[in-house]
Amino acid sequence: MEWAETVRTAVSALNARRMRSLLTMLGILIGIAAVMLTVGLGQGAQQQITSQINSLGSNMIIVTPSSSTSSGGFRGGGGTVSTLTTADAAMLADPAIAPDVAAVAPTSSVSGSLQSSSSTWTSTVVGTVPDWQSVRARTMGSGRFFTTDEVNASANVAVIGSETATELFDIGSPVGRTVSINGQSFTVIGVLASAGSSLGSNEDDTVVVPMTTFAARLSTSSSATSVSSIYLEGKDADSLSAAYQQVKTALLSSHQVTSDTADFTVSTQASLVETATSITGILTLLLGGIAGISLLVGGIGVMNIMLVSVSERVREIGLRKALGATPGVIRRQFLVEAGILGILGGLVGVGLGFGGAAILTPIIGITVSISAPATLIALVVSLGIGIVAGVYPASRAAKLAPIDALRSE
């Protein structure tokens, strides 16, 4: 019996019980759509986090104080003293110690209440050095960044984010105007170009001031030399791991600790991406797995309906056998029916997945990215589920004896 004829017979059998076929397909359909959406969501979140991390700068290394202290130690509340200092930053800037580090930017931050002549606003105030601009890959929208001379002179100058600028100075250029930060008066010398938000922090709502000025006038830390983190820029992508090792080794020896008792953490963008990827990967697997269970249930639904269909059509099967259908032909007939249920469910499910992705993306703000391979896999899986679910019912049908089948009224 030709394939075309087998498919035609299967389609007409499914069409004869249209409502039931649709309901059976629904199980596969929902399962496929759910798997596609959850996996697409996971992949979208992953891409977004990765691109956010990459937008932080290029070839960046971040040193942060770590909570692991010497045994028995504890961290006090309030004015916590960071284990990182400006001296660490100065040491890492020395080409003799870390030759593959291109730029070093120690930073500290504090929440500041800002006041301009016309409005007030609250934002994060960062104290750092001119290298910050290069390390964080930020460009100026207008005006200029502060200079090393201004750092050395503890000048009262501030560079502000584009959103901060809009909030404080609604009309005219902010450059040259005065803003009060926690009661201290600063002159705005530049506005940063927009960089969007990254990892939950709004990069456009910020105030950057010289580190020395920050320590003298704004810092809440009890130590004038401590910094909350050190951003470093490697010379290029190839030497990044060398730079990473140089930074780690230098800090371990200057802090007189071993890797196990280190009071700081060194991460690269790559390691951040890796961590984020593994977290979203686990989440995706978990959600996809739950959605996969619904797909399995859909498959069981197909098997159930095919079994019902076989018992209902005992007489038809008997007649077909009497007219010359071999057991193999009957088996194939039912497998094709189950397969068609599966692939149709899969096709509509994929369509629903794409529709759902288009609707969800603007609502949750994360791109639900459904890839072509994922679509293809979904279709193959749905066809496979249909066929696997059809194996048992089809072999039942194939084994029916023609006389028993014909006799049944």
Partner: protein
């Protein structure tokens, strides 16, 4: 004349759980090509079982059965299906047409399983339907046809593969007297043109159309003498 079918010592035993039922207890039967045989017997006599074995729907427990010179007594299910497809045309009491298919598609069914291509199938099915006088009803579904017309569709289906044996199981059992007459006339015509017919019936006036009548009783053929037919 060569033998269309030859049964020697055919026995069939069914096991219904605890009880063993011996439906056929040693049947010897020879039917020549071109003959028209009626098998008569009361219900429970084993005539359905005999018909199943003649039609290769089942195989005997013991004994041999040759159809058209081929021993089919111990064939596999797959080979039996092929023999049924090529050698036997069935006509059932309840017509057994597929309700969702047109008359034409119903008649095409055996050709589909024979692997005949679509164009030739359609051609041959149309010819068969014409042969039974239903050329103007090919696109009708069984539900849109009368009982007599449905049975003629099933005769067309039985003829379409050009089988050597036409096997009819109570072909007029569900028909009114007029349709019965039609179908029997059709059978007479087919037999006159050389087709072998074996027909199971319990009605004497139906059996009277046959050239030979055999009686089955308690699983044995009790009388296989030809009967003179008064039409």
């Amino acid at each position: 004349m060569s033998l269309q079918l030859k049964m020697t010592g055919v026995r069939k035993t069914y096991s219904t759980g605890v009880v063993e039922v011996e439906a056929l207890r040693g049947i010897d039967l020879e039917v020549e090509q071109g003959n028209y045989v009626a098998v008569m017997g009361p219900s429970g006599s084993g005539k359905s079982t005999l018909m199943h074995i003649i039609g290769c729907l089942d195989i005997p427990t013991a004994g041999t059965y040759e159809l058209d010179g081929i021993d089919v007594s111990s064939m596999t299910e797959k080979s039996l299906a092929e023999v049924r497809n090529r050698k036997v045309g069935f006509v059932f009491q309840q017509f057994n047409l597929l309700p969702s298919l047109s008359a034409l598609r119903n008649v095409e069914l055996p050709l589909i399983y024979a692997g005949v291509n679509a164009a030739e199938r359609k051609e041959r099915a149309n010819v068969a339907l014409e042969r039974v006088g239903l050329a103007d009803r090919v696109q009708h579904r069984p539900g849109e046809l009368s009982g007599g017309q449905q049975q003629r569709v099933s005769v067309a289906r039985a003829l379409v593969t050009d089988p050597t044996l036409l096997l009819a199981d109570e072909p007029t059992g569900a028909l009114d007297s007029r349709s019965t007459k039609d179908i029997l006339a059709l059978f007479d015509e087919l037999n006159d043109s050389g087709r072998t017919i074996v027909m199971i019936t319990h009605e004497h006036d139906v059996a009277a159309h046959a050239r030979r009548v055999v009686h089955i009783y308690d699983g044995l053929l009790t009388d296989s003498a030809p009967v003179a037919v008064a039409q």
